[in-house]
Point group: C2
Chain length 701, copies 2
């Protein structure tokens, strides 16, 4: 184990390298030639059309104004300066709520660190167990940690009391934050301009009807069951019919050269009743009616006529719109099993690939490479790096694999796909990074140990090794966390790709527009990583407080960097109004719960009477707090209340009495392929706006 | 352990005693003097007014017609004869669905028994382990059970395959039953006459308003948010204001002699704004609008303006209507903790009382009793029976205690209180009767063992002792199950109480009406017991099939007896339309899951390779089946679909176009104390039926 000096040196080195990244960033971002890499958002939003030129001595490609280099860190205050309301307007609520997670990290861990250094560090420091034990290798960090307090000491009651203080503080901050985010979301929804999804409900699992087309069936159904408020509907295309999906894919890729054939094909899709999937976007005359429809159950068979609030058009994941109920439950079962195996047995296929990817394996498959491989330097390179590279490739591919699994599960919006993938990734990190680092060995071995250990032994085993792993996690935070953030802002990959494209492919201004890749906040990958740092902060707050400043630096640095990126770079693919917050909150509480169980386990090995009983109310309180917050706030993220809908409707009716809603909604929910093309006309739109008379049906009743 | 002959003798004795009960019942029920004890339902429904007289030789009190005694079991076919539809009409859907649980028991366990006797019993019988072991006491029952198959034998694969067959059969029967019960419920709701609760929604947690009374506030709120369909509302009285509750209690008990003071007091309650609780029954012009209102969320704050489908008026539990959200979550937390202690530590207070209730204790508290107690016979009676009696009293009080706990949790209808209490009692029986009988020792000792054992050891420990406990459970089924049912039909306690009342208290015909106590199906106590027998049947189906016939006799006997009781005796306090079925289904699946885990544990001690892996898909399938059924059917028991509501509305509008709904609903939801009294007039009923104009508010906006 490293001692305090070694850690300081390592921290200094890491800070230095992060600083080097920042300098590189500062220089690169000032070059006009890189402007589209570091400020794509301003181009996307149409605020900027060409690189800034702020002086006479600036050429087209390189910035020669030395004064701009002096203030090379001035992007930081700039990033912090934009007020939150303006930021919501500029980048959307999702991004703003996302960067609040980092701020929340500071709010939770900051005071915890102060308290821990004021109270726990002195208590630990004067514990003097480790000084007595001469033959044990100990270091300064251990002297500051709980390991320095002798077994059975009354001092542990300070830790127990402090763990209550920490939990209560965390509850308080989380409660206030949930409340604030819920309020932000409600304000956002209330102040939002008119959007198609406010009036629209996604209806899935429309039962087929022998006498009517799907479109007629939907219209009749809603005219009967929502006689006063039904307005129009658009059916989704593609999804159930395999060949038709291919046709659509085909359009997307070859759209330029085959427009003739395409028109023909599209005609076919539109006229073929089988190609129409059993899902539709049904629009209403008011938000109130849409809210009612989204929240109520239509048929007594809860597996047909499923209604839910329509995702905004960009957010729709078209392929998953039409999956029958039974298929959906089977898919989720299979994916749950797959996730279990992925988490606990992922090392098996990797070990297999690693065993293949050794020197003998390569020589067998590619005998002609033998002379090259047998070279000493190549040989040692392969032996040293190949297994690691195989694992690294898997870890890079992992979020994609998890996203594919979520897609198989059949969620119908990109935002929900992101949320589901984040949940899976969080589990993976928890088991394979957190637990896996504490108890060395594969997750499968851990699983086996846990199954053959009493449930009370698990927190003990894990809790006992927690203090010993503090230096490891400090290094992890610096290498993975700090460096990761610095790499995030440098955007090396998009930088290289942009310049390559620019050199070889870009011919028109349109091409240049497409060559810049702003990227987006990848919630599914980033958020579970934040949760890991939260977990480390909470777990070590009562055990080894020295770790906390490292977590705090991570949160502070991330906050500034991501605020900058959100302002200048990222271009979100959809806007869900911060609907991921309940997940963030839940996972934070899971982290808190884990930290409490591990502290119970750790203290139960320290011979303190009644410590377990004294700590037992903590997890109970945490679970209750979760239930309470869920009931109190979650619905703001799931449902749109009738009162709010009515308010917005009334306001709109007063300000725009002559609004033609039907025209406004006409093309809102059209498959991207058909988007904005005049060929497309829903054949069933009823021209008469106020047509509330009985609808003729082909069916002989 | 008893052998097969001893069990047969015991079974014969138990059958004989049950038979004696039935003969006693047959004789007693034929006496006209007992008519009101054994046929109260016919009196309550007004079909019968005085005891039957079927011949000249029948006197007023004693039946002397010997012919009627010969066919003393003819109540059984009579009980089975009434068709289900007529029975629904006669006794309500709740009762009919309830007795279907017994039928379901026959459908599940019957074929399991046949299969087990055809396949497993021969396999076990020819196993011949126990014959080889000379020094072990074994008996015929063990020879028929899985214990007779030698360790590591391939024969166990038959058990593994059969456990799949059993599970699939159980899934099939449960699925069909859930579907049928859901259909029955939907048919029942569709065919139901007009009832106030169809148009009414219970609104809770109405936020107080400084400018308006609660009643005005509610009216304004619903006129704004449901402008087209709001009809009227009635506010609940009592509940929040302690003193007023007392006043109401006061009325109930002293209502006869203090009518003057009462009128005054009631006036006070009505005029005091603080006495009006923050809950109301809001009625709408159509079922469709009520369904919409019950299923949607009004305010963005999900803890105020909570709406739910109104229970039918008899089903309302008035005291719990107005509990703030925060209180509710605290109450549920406390009750969950209390339940945990009740289940695992209930022996502690009982042991304490038992220690007090010994001879020395009694002598200390009541020294004057010493001479009496020191008598030898009294002394031995106290020593032998007192501890048992203390436990028995606790067990008799237990359902009441659990019901009180459910009431504290704040559920607002009697049906939900019954369902919650049943869940608690089920847990208690599971831990203290099922597990407690298998692993002797108190629940607390078990808990301690389980916490200090690996999770895989628990099914092993329990599973291993399962075969050894077969004879114990067979005896339990006979003594508790068979005898319990026979006692149920004899109704000894109501019989005695009725005749005592009749002798000393009854003066008028009205008194006699009140003296008869029909009782009701006590779902909270009976259903968890059925679940215990289901569990025994499922657990032993693959282990000791000899137990199954005993369970089958229990189900068959219970079915006939309860069908008789439902037809002739019970008077249900409310009708919930079989809304308890999802609970029954879930608990059955919990039983199936337990049986599968225990089989896994048992087989893992038998040295069969891969048995655990071969059985692992079973619990996964069971959980998936639960999730699937929940999604497929549960909503039929929770929500009323808009389509069904619209159908019923349309039909009613066509058949009764001039219905005055406001008059119909006027007094539907009035606290029982105020029921049917002309004094009571909701001061805020708006006389004008079609008053949809804007409502004036006192508030200065």
């Amino acid at each position: 184990m490293a001692n305090l000096r070694e850690i300081s040196v390592s921290a200094a080195l890491n800070l230095l390298s992060a600083f080097a990244f920042l300098v590189a960033f500062a220089i690169l971002r000032l070059q006009p030639i890189n402007d589209r890499v570091y400020f794509p958002k301003w181009y996307r939003r149409g605020i900027r059309n060409s690189p800034r030129r702020s002086g006479v001595c600036v050429t087209r490609f390189v910035n020669l104004d030395w004064r701009t280099y002096i203030k090379f860190l001035n992007w930081m205050p700039a990033a912090l300066r934009m007020p939150e309301l303006e930021l919501i307007d500029h980048a959307g609520l999702d991004s703003v709520v996302y960067i609040r997670i980092y701020l929340l990290g500071l709010k939770v861990i900051g005071p915890l660190a102060v308290l821990a250094f004021l109270v726990l560090v002195p208590v630990n420091w004067t514990g003097e167990t480790l000084e007595g034990v001469k033959n044990l290798a100990y270091n300064d960090i251990d002297k500051l940690s709980i390991s320095n307090v002798p077994d059975g000491s009354k001092r542990f009651w300070v830790h127990i009391v402090m763990s209550y203080v920490f939990a209560l503080w965390t509850f308080y901050v989380l409660y206030v934050e949930y409340k604030e985010v819920a309020a932000m979301r409600l304000r956002y929804l209330a102040s939002e301009n008119r959007r198609p999804d406010q009036f629209t409900v996604l209806v899935r699992n429309v039962p087929p009807d022998p006498d009517e087309t799907v479109s007629e069936h939907i219209e009749h159904f809603f005219r009967v069951n929502h006689p006063d408020s039904y307005l129009t509907h658009q059916t989704g295309f593609g999804g159930v019919v395999g060949t038709k999906v291919d046709a659509i894919d085909y359009y997307s890729s070859e759209i330029q050269k085959l427009s003739e054939a395409e028109a023909l094909e599209r005609e076919k899709v539109l006229s073929d009743p089988k190609a129409i999937v059993l899902a539709a976007f049904v629009s209403f005359k008011s938000r109130w009616a849409a809210a009612v429809c989204a929240q109520t159950q239509f048929s007594h068979n809860p597996t047909i006529w499923l209604t839910e609030w329509a995702p905004e058009p960009r957010d729709v994941y078209w392929r998953n719109l039409a999956i029958p109920y039974f298929d959906l439950t089977i898919r989720r079962l299979l994916m749950a099993i797959a996730l279990f195996f992925l988490i606990f047995f992922f090392m098996i296929p990797i070990a297999f690939v690693q065993s293949l990817a050794n020197i003998e394996g390569i020589e067998k498959v590619f005998p002609f490479l033998t002379p090259l491989i047998e070279t000493k330097s190549v040989r040692s390179f392969i032996q040293g790096f190949l297994p690691g590279i195989v694992l690294k490739i898997f870890l890079i591919l992992l979020p994609t694999i998890l996203m594919m699994m979520s897609k198989v599960e059949g969620f119908s919006s990109r935002s929900s796909l992101d949320r589901r993938s984040a949940g899976k990734y969080h589990l993976f990190l928890l088991v394979n990074v957190f637990l896996g680092s504490i108890i060395t060995g594969t997750a499968f071995q851990q699983l086996k140990t846990f199954l053959h250990q009493p449930p009370t032994e698990i927190p003990k085993t894990v809790g006992e090794s927690i203090p010993m792993k503090a230096t490891f996690f400090i290094t992890y935070i610096m290498v993975d966390g700090w460096a990761g953030i610095a790499a995030e802002i440098l955007r090396l990959v998009p930088l290289v790709i942009f310049h390559l494209k620019n050199m070889f492919l870009v011919k028109t201004e349109q091409d240049r527009e497409e060559a810049m890749d702003p990227g987006c906040l990848n919630f599914a990958t980033y958020e579970p990583k934040i949760q890991l740092y939260f977990l480390l902060g909470l777990v070590y707050s009562a055990v080894t407080p020295v770790l906390l400043p490292f977590v705090i630096i991570f949160f502070a640095f991330s906050y500034v960097v991501f605020r900058h990126q959100v302002i200048n770079v990222y271009d979100q693919r959809y806007e869900s109004g911060g609907s991921f917050w309940p997940d963030v909150h839940r996972r934070l509480l899971i982290g808190l719960l884990i930290s409490q169980l591990l502290l119970m386990g750790l203290l139960s090995t320290k011979n303190i009477e009644k410590s377990t009983i004294a700590l037992l109310p903590l997890p109970v309180l945490t679970i209750w707090f979760h239930v309470y917050c869920k009931g109190r706030f979650q619905s703001a993220f799931v449902r749109f209340s009738l009162q709010d809908a009515m308010t917005k409707d009334t306001l709109e009716r007063a300000t725009e009495p002559n609004l033609n809603l039907r025209a406004y909604l006409k093309d809102a929910y059209v498959h991207p392929v058909f988007k904005g093309r005049s060929h497309f006309e829903s054949p069933l739109l009823v021209p008469d706006e106020e047509n509330n008379t009985l609808v003729l049906t082909r069916r002989s009743s």
